[in-house]
């Protein structure tokens, strides 16, 4: 994705602040990200907003319902709708969660943890290949927050790496999710990151979360990014080539100034770690 003026940080396009964003001189993301599910087949007022946004910003897509880890067959009708949407809005990055949101023919609209198992790897690798063949573009899969493993026979980093390496897909590295999981499952976040297929990372997510007890953090996207996640971000970006970075803020939306402050801070970090003028491929 070609980003202008050597800026890398984008923001999630939410209906809650779309109007403000379109007119804002305060919030200046390099691109916007949206869930195609929330916009496909929508007309009227929101379609007009989307079209205005598309004129102003490059768009990346982050899917919710493809359910790449589902035992069910892929929903091909839906996938072709995504393909059409991606083409129409000239979307260069399409990512999805490494989780499942549909099972036994029922959508759940949330991200459930896939068992970290050999057979699940094979199953998902085949599905990713199928998706990439149909879309004629790479899929970036995202490491998700999870609150419990289920019937695991390998660790999370191995699970992710095997899937990425065997399928040839890209990776969306969510730095906050790594932090959340390292807290919930008591592992070292930096060590975890070094085990990932970092050469395949094509996109980064940053977000806030909520600690609800001594032992559990919930990935809410409803708070500001915390200091430790910024620190992990700095560590991570130093290991990577330049890629677009997205600030996810889905709930509890603050004044746009606050979002811009977070964006500026990330921009400052990457301008140090990614010193040279790179065109982002």
């Amino acid at each position: 994705m070609q980003l202008k003026n050597n800026k890398h940080i984008g923001i999630g396009f939410r209906k809650d602040f779309s109007e403000e964003l379109l007119e804002s001189t305060v919030l200046k993301p390099a691109f916007i990200e949206l869930a195609p599910e929330n916009w496909i087949g929508m007309g009227g007022y929101w379609k007009k907003q989307l079209d205005k946004a598309a004129e102003k910003f490059p768009i990346t897509c982050h899917g919710l319902s493809l359910s790449i880890g589902s035992p069910d067959d892929l929903d091909l009708d839906f996938l072709y709708k995504i393909k059409k949407f991606i083409k129409h809005y000239n979307v260069q990055i399409y990512s999805e969660h490494l989780s499942y949101a549909k099972c036994d023919n029922a959508h759940l609209y949330d991200l459930l943890p896939i068992p970290f198992r050999k057979d699940a790897v094979k199953h998902i690798v085949a599905r990713i290949k199928q998706v990439q063949d149909i879309l004629e573009m790479p899929l970036a899969i995202e490491n998700v927050s999870y609150y419990t493993p289920v019937a695991a026979e390998m660790d999370e980093a191995t699970f992710i790496s095997e899937i990425v390496n065997e399928s040839g897909c890209n990776m969306l590295l969510d730095v906050n999710n790594v932090y959340v999981n390292s807290f919930n499952h008591k592992y070292n976040a930096k060590e975890f990151i070094t085990k990932l297929p970092l050469d395949k990372v094509s996109y980064i997510h940053m977000a806030g979360h909520e600690q609800i007890s001594d032992t559990v953090i919930i990935d809410t996207h409803g708070e500001a990014v915390i200091e430790k996640v910024f620190e992990l971000f700095e560590y991570t970006t130093a290991l990577l080539k330049p890629v677009p970075v997205l600030l996810e803020r889905d709930f509890n939306i603050p004044e746009l100034e606050e979002l811009q402050t977070e964006i500026t801070r990330m921009e400052t970090i990457v301008s140090k770690t990614w010193k040279k003028e790179h065109a982002i491929a």
Partner: protein, 251 residues
């Protein structure tokens, strides 16, 4: 041979089923204390989506009845749409299919839910191409071009006019015209009489006003064409002002 083993599939099914029903599952190697977050997160998304789509019904039904309805829906129904904002339609269809209005003895429940769904549907539905039209035509004898983004619906209760608490004993024939304004996407509602609903239906069918009124004069036993025309033209004029009637259809 499927790549995914039966055993893995079973684990995935059990977790998904738990999120739907809240009945604690038998799972291997989980942090039991954390499982309930999944049920809570999944269920909250479902509840929020339905309550946002049906605010009038939600406020009208007693809490325990609403909660049970939503719980049963989530436990028994398999949501089909990958787009969560379309899911409330499945809730409406579920209520109709299970005849919840008979079960709860609320004879206007289906109408109320449908009305609330329509508001959402009209606001979000895909853009419909406009027909070509001429604004300087003859509005009585030409076939008229209508705003294609509209719905004319019939209700057995005036759910679009009265609050649910006022609907008892109001069974009858009620008609609602809903349309979306082109410029701003705003949805407008218009309560129309049976006569005007008939006129609208015939306009939809491409019949001109002269022919519609000639037929209506007999059909509604008005037997006073000039008076009918005078009234009908006020209605037509209003629809033109609202840009629901765009002009004369040109092919």
């Amino acid at each position: 041979m499927p790549l995914l083993k039966e055993e893995t599939h079973t684990q995935q099914s059990r977790l998904a089923e738990y999120c739907k029903t809240g009945v604690f599952p038998e799972l291997t190697g989980v942090i039991e204390d954390n499982l309930h977050h999944y049920r809570r997160l999944v269920f909250n998304i479902g509840i929020d989506t339905i309550e946002t789509a049906y605010p009038i019904t939600y406020r009208f039904l007693p809490n325990e009845i609403w909660d049970k309805l939503v719980y049963d829906f989530y436990a028994k129904h398999k949501c089909q749409t990958p787009q969560v904002w379309r899911m409330p339609l499945e809730f409406y269809e579920y209520c109709v299919e299970k005849n919840i209005q008979a079960e709860l003895n609320i004879p206007f429940l289906n109408d109320l839910l449908y009305f609330e769904w329509l508001e959402l549907e009209m606001h979000t539905m895909e853009d419909v191409p406009y027909p070509s039209f001429n604004v300087n035509g003859d509005s009585v004898n030409d076939v008229l071009a209508l705003n294609p983004e509209h719905k004319l619906v019939k209700f057995a209760y005036p759910v679009h006019i009265l609050a649910p608490t006022e609907l008892e004993g109001k069974a009858g024939d009620y008609f609602l015209l809903m349309y979306r304004e082109k410029e701003n996407g705003r949805v407008q509602c218009m309560d129309v009489s049976i006569l005007y609903a008939y006129i609208l239906e015939q306009l939809q069918n491409g019949v001109n006003i002269q022919a519609i009124l000639t037929e209506a004069d007999t059909l509604f036993q008005i037997n006073n064409f000039e008076m009918l025309k005078e009234h009908a033209l006020i209605f037509i004029n209003d629809l033109q002002q609202r840009q629901f009637i765009l002009g004369s259809l040109t092919s």
